[in-house]
């Protein structure tokens, strides 16, 4: 499935300025794994410390929240949530200053 992943400016700094990417994936977890494979600098944001490989990434870094088509994935299947063609993921930081 072709999935668009959008992320905020602080992540865009680590992706050469790209504010979103398109990946092929069937679940939320797989899409995020594709994201961090393409941009390894994002891995430490997205996955907990010490997680490596898709099999080891069973949960998100607690400072990250992911929305699937506007709904928080924590309330709808989590990383195992199935994706359909054209779905959009938004990855945001759960912490920000102010």
């Amino acid at each position: 499935m072709s999935i668009r992943i959008a992320f905020p400016a602080q992540f865009a700094e680590l992706t050469g300025g790209a504010g979103s990417v398109t990946v092929e994936a069937t679940t939320v977890g797989e899409a995020l794994a594709r994201l961090t494979e393409r941009y390894p600098a994002l891995a430490s944001y997205v996955w907990p410390r010490g997680a490596s490989g898709v099999g080891g990434r069973a949960e998100l870094n607690p400072v990250i929240v992911v929305f699937l088509n506007g709904e928080d994935v924590r309330h709808g299947g989590g990383l195992a949530a199935a994706l359909r063609d054209g779905d959009e993921l938004t990855v945001i930081s759960a912490v920000e200053g102010g």
């Binding site: 905020p8 865009a12 945001i92």
Partner: protein, 602 residues
């Protein structure tokens, strides 16, 4: 501002900004158009004000020659979402080098005043001198500036002054000080309150603040109690490009953190509590997290059991980042407005002081807002007093208040706001130095720290204004967990400093604009700027901040962290203890190796 070559790459000398210089001693006003010297002059904000401050020699923040510079960014007053910021810059009475010289600072705020000022035709206001009697300034379209008597404002709190002036000047918006600013001699941490549409319509005390650095105290020292910008609103044309940009800003990932859940958001900075508590890094008991399970008492889900929380916004902003607390009536509906719960004031005026009850928290936040003080500086200084008293039960300070003692804490804040407690009003550095116990005073370079513990942020010493709003390293350990020297050198010298970009442009950091969106915003006002040019102007402006610190006597010993970080690591933290003296020494060497060269080349 007039650009004689719109649509092209800006030639600074062809961009003229409108300046009013007011001498309150002489009672004179001079209006002029000033050509820009460089791109940062064109963009505005502190990019311009710090260049002006560098031209002045100021050794006393309350001297008449210390200029208070009020200006806007190039996007203030435009149709770009969050284009409404206004900046107050001066040499600060609060932030001071170990040599005792005041540091240059700016403080930013939202609300309607900035846009109104821009719509009068004025880009910049410089106030020098001192009025013998209380006055306020009236800015009207032209631009015109009048100095008017303000005897009837004396003693009113921030909201009282705003409502009085708003009634007197229809279609005007206000920047004012509270009693704390009037008590400038003993209160160096007064804020500037900025009126909002919501405030004027609802008559609730819902102003915004330019809080940091004591800019309200500088105003008070000049006898300047308020500034009113009175002009009809001038909404611009919303082109399809601006409409699309604003949709991306208000609905995209950049501002998601600050929106409500029903708009795919995280509920604002208040929601920092939960993820940060997982790491036990939410400040408690003077920046010493206890892992005692009390932080969740102020999680939003718990506060909502007792209060109604409503997300509200600044003028025409679709992000709605204000989380306003209202009384919950028996039928569950919204009653009286209580206060705004943002992460900084909520932590530093409550959790960090051992206050875990939302009914007490809102009273403290409201009190501090109404008196017109910076929540961060006041909360951090009071935290020190409570800590000192806990350590010295035999010889406590002031009323002997310690953590959790709401009535005593409230008294300390009220008395400080009225100017009766210079021990607190003059800030934590002076207090701690006078007591010879500086190790647990949460300040860096003389300015109190925001609500992010220094144990996790060795980038603090390179913040040139507010500790987190001018250097974006304060959450990196929690976000990425990297403790390597190389990572932190890059975090400071290549990434964190660009946090100040929006304080040139006149937009709110909560818009979370990426560089592409910032460039589109500039294009919408006729400025064709490349990303390289924008980042270079931002970097130069930041470096000027460091250069200005050196001008004011900052030396190697000023660039450090509270000694407690090095000497007494907190065992409760779930983050690595990596900020050792050795690490920090190496970090300084490598960071200065980068910055020294660039500062010399400015």
């Amino acid at each position: 501002m007039r650009n004689l070559n719109p649509g092209q790459a800006p030639i600074p000398a062809s961009v003229l900004y409108s300046r009013a210089t007011v001498d309150l001693t002489a009672g004179s006003v001079k209006l002029e158009e000033v050509p820009c010297r460089n791109l940062e002059d064109v963009l505005g904000g502190f990019g311009r004000s710090f260049q002006l401050l560098a031209e002045r020699n100021v050794t006393d923040a309350y001297a008449p020659e210390n200029p208070l510079i009020v200006n806007t960014g190039v996007l203030t007053g435009t149709e770009v979402m969050t284009g409404l910021r206004v900046y107050f810059s001066a040499y600060s009475p609060l932030k001071v080098s170990n040599k005792g010289l005041p540091a240059a600072m700016w403080s930013a705020g939202s609300g309607n005043f900035g846009s109104k000022m821009k719509w009068t035709g004025l880009d910049e206001l410089i106030v020098t001198g001192r009025s013998g009697k209380p006055v306020y300034l009236l800015l009207t379209e032209g631009p015109h500036v009048e100095i008017l008597p303000a005897a009837d404002l004396v003693g009113k709190d921030t909201h009282g002054k705003i409502m009085h002036l708003a009634q007197k000047h229809p279609q005007g918006h206000v920047a004012s000080i509270g009693q704390a600013g009037e008590a400038y001699k003993t209160n160096y941490m007064a804020a500037v309150a900025l009126s909002t549409d919501n405030e004027l319509k609802s008559k609730d005390d819902k102003c915004r603040f330019a809080g940091r650095g004591g800019m309200g105290s500088v105003m008070g020292s000049k006898g300047l109690l308020a500034i009113v910008a009175q002009v009809k609103d001038k909404p611009g044309k919303v082109t399809p490009a601006i409409r699309d940009l604003n949709r991306a800003i208000s609905g995209g990932p950049g501002s998601a953190k600050f929106r409500e859940a029903d708009k795919q958001g995280m509920g604002g900075t208040w929601s920092n509590y939960e993820p940060m508590e997982k790491f036990h890094v939410v400040p408690q008991y003077n920046f010493r997290p206890l892992a005692d399970g009390k932080v969740p008492l102020l999680f939003r889900e718990n506060v909502e059991k007792e209060f109604v929380v409503k997300a509200e916004s600044c003028y025409r902003c679709g992000i709605n980042c204000h989380k306003n607390i209202y009384e919950r009536k028996p039928d569950g509906s919204k009653g009286e407005f209580r206060a705004k719960f943002d992460y900084e004031p909520l932590d530093l005026l409550a959790t960090n002081l051992g206050i875990d009850n939302p009914a007490e928290a809102w009273q403290l936040i409201k009190l501090v807002d109404n008196l017109g003080m910076d929540s961060i500086s006041l909360g951090t200084t009071v935290g020190y007093v409570l800590d000192y008293n806990a350590r010295h039960k035999d010889r406590p300070l002031l009323n002997g208040a310690t953590f959790g003692q709401f009535d005593k804490i409230k008294w300390l804040m009220a008395e400080t706001g009225m100017g009766r407690l210079p021990e607190i009003g003059r800030g934590v550095k002076r207090l701690a130095d006078s007591l010879h116990e500086p190790g647990y005073a949460m300040q860096v370079k003389g300015l109190e720290l925001p609500a992010y513990i220094p144990d996790t942020n060795p980038g603090y010493p390179w913040a040139i204004a507010g500790g987190h709003m001018s250097m974006a390293t304060f959450l990196l350990l929690v976000m990425q967990g990297d403790t390597s020297l190389d990572y932190w050198v890059k975090a400071i010298t290549e990434r964190g400093l660009y946090q100040v970009r929006d304080d040139l442009l006149g937009v709110c950091k909560f818009a979370g604009m990426n560089h592409k969106q910032a460039l589109e915003s500039l294009k919408s006002v006729g400025l064709a700027v490349t990303q390289e040019e924008l980042l270079a102007a931002t970097r130069r402006s930041y470096l000027r901040g460091l250069a200005l610190e050196r001008k004011q006597g900052y030396e190697d010993s000023d660039y450090t962290l509270p000694a407690q970080v090095f000497e007494h690591p907190n065992p409760h933290l779930k983050t690595p203890n990596f900020v050792t003296p050795e690490f920090f020494r190496e970090l300084k060497t490598k960071v200065w190796a980068v910055f020294d060269k660039e500062i010399a080349a400015l």
